[in-house]
Symmetry: C2
Subunit: 357 residues, 2 copies
């Protein structure tokens, strides 16, 4: 009935008895073609099972209605959720999303930027500002608009949407301090090449300074993303300072790991040790006790990133910067510091609940 390989515009044109231009118009600007012709053409398209070849289309038209996104990892629920919203918003406007994950590796990310651009992405969504300036130069030269998400900083002037990681974490840390905690541990994500992780740590330091405390008194452990990593990080922290009364974690996943390990070690949370997270993913409300954390409006961020990026792609503007508000969610994992412990410099024998109040 038909040739073995994929039908082309030409095949359709021949089958419908029109020119390729007409077929193309039927597909792209149907109103510029008369009803009867359109029907013939559509029938041929249908019959042959024709699908336009994107490569060719990209080359000829310079527009693909495709947006690329590169995220550090797919395993992070928060990106997943925001991205889902991003994709939905794109779809509504007729764009398709292509996603790549860089596994937190800058070299992989660069490769993927090029790959996505070469494939004709009309615009790119990237996470965080931190990356080789050469990448921005390249994007600039290729005239591909970029939206930076998941972070907002006064210091950066690229189009972006996100929240102030530093200020949000500072606010949370301030609450921790208010509850009397002084021996504080921090479990942070890897800060190298990750402005969000770095700013969160900075936020904690700021909070300490504002309270007249020395940021160097913090016990910090950096680790990779993952529940297990969080658990191990808690071990390391407690090894360095067994008297910690609070552990501030860079995200909910690390916090969940720390929490699990605390339970495994028989440490009462928040009685003996308070633990906080960041992001407010569903996990935060599943664990026991529920995590005190910073709520981030993922879906709103995803949606707004989409509309902002599309506006840039369609030349409506040069890109805007939007700051989103976060909110501290007070839940069970954060409690007042166990005051007496510090004074009594508990010995190993002092395992039970002391009677002093």
């Amino acid at each position: 009935m038909q040739s073995r390989s994929a039908p082309t515009l030409d095949d359709v044109a021949r089958a419908a008895g029109v020119s390729t231009a007409t077929v193309s118009r039927c597909l792209n600007t149907p109103d510029r073609v008369v009803e009867s012709t359109r029907q013939k053409v559509m029938q041929a398209v249908e019959a042959l099972g024709y699908t336009p070849n994107f490569g060719a289309r990209v080359m000829a038209a310079k527009r693909t209605f495709t947006i690329g996104a590169i995220i550090p990892t797919m395993e992070n629920a928060i990106f997943a959720r925001g991205l889902q919203a991003f994709q939905e918003a794109l779809r509504e406007r007729g764009y398709t999303l292509l996603v790549s994950s860089s596994a937190y590796r800058p070299d992989v990310e660069e490769e993927q930027v090029r790959s996505l651009v070469a494939r004709g992405a009309d615009g790119l969504l990237l996470i965080g500002h931190d990356r080789d300036p050469a990448i921005y130069d390249y994007l600039n030269q290729q005239k591909v608009p970029v939206m930076i998400a998941w972070t907002f900083s006064e210091a950066e002037h690229r189009p972006s949407i996100g929240f102030d990681n530093r200020a949000s974490m500072e606010a949370l840390a301030t609450e921790v301090l208010k509850l009397g905690h002084r021996r504080i541990g921090v479990i942070s994500g890897i800060t190298k090449g990750n402005d969000r992780a770095r700013q969160r740590v900075e936020g904690i330091c700021n909070a300490l300074e504002n309270s007249g405390l020395d940021p160097d008194s913090l016990t910090i452990s950096e680790t990779t993303y993952g529940i297990e990593s969080g658990a191990e990080a808690l071990d390391k922290l407690l090894e360095k300072d067994p008297h910690l009364t609070a552990v501030i974690c860079g995200n909910d996943v690390l916090a969940a790991g720390a929490l699990r390990r605390a339970r495994e070690r028989g440490i009462d949370v928040p009685g003996q040790l308070s633990i906080t997270g960041f992001d407010d993913i569903e996990l935060a409300r599943i664990v026991v006790p529920a995590l005190t954390t910073v709520h981030v409006p993922h879906r709103e961020m995803g949606r707004k990133a989409a509309s902002g990026l599309i506006d840039m792609v369609e030349n409506k503007n040069a890109g805007t910067r939007t700051e989103l508000a976060t909110e501290i969610m007070m839940r069970g994992s954060l409690g007042p510091a166990p005051k007496l412990r510090d004074q009594a410099d508990r010995s190993d024998a002092d395992a039970g609940n002391s009677a002093e109040r």
Copy 2:
């Protein structure tokens, strides 16, 4: 210095003083070009910041070293993890992965299949067998190899890699029955268009039949993916039958939701009610009590899917079918049925533990 828009092969050729063919060869088959020329060319490439245009390359060469994957949702940790492994394996072999998520919508999935193919994907990874045959016809016509993952069934003959959802769930349900449970509830994902969800439910029914029980005695609730959905589903189930002693969930996320709701309602797990999951994602070990669930070798599946698909793409074979083993993880959320309840047809007042043994 140079034109404002992206440099082309032609620009490079001119800058290096060679023909476009030579430049192309330098990039694709460096050994067919003499060292000195190659250096000149590479310098020009470097100087101009040249990147090949994929669209053009696809058109001319018919190979892209790109694999596409379409998953139902990015919010599901299990896909995320398997996909991460898939991507890593692809990278090692020089392929790039492009991901789309269909939000469990067949129409969206179809659109994305076409989109990915049109963009020159050399092969596709799809989840589950269930989909419009027209899609398979299309893929066939376009000669794009497809690997089906996350499911394995004797009945399907397409290249695939996965585990037997039905048998795995049957094994788990059998354990539940062994512990004496007879009033069993099921929280399933949406089964329409989702062979995995459907087969899991079938597995439960099989287990009942094998024990001489009537599958119709199951109280089943279907719901969307998500922790909150799991929680609500438990409410519905208990409304239909307050005397359930076990709830088998289609995946860990639903189970986590059910577990949370049970806690909220003051139901003791597993004392009063046992709950099981499926997938064994990290979440399963975080919740209290930890979930009894079916362990799925995500990473292995991802890796093998990659090598299998690449073999097909490179015409090494027509595609193989691989079945992976699963393993039941017995943990705290599953316990023996509270035997006395059934006999005593507990009244509302019968809330405490009765003394009879």
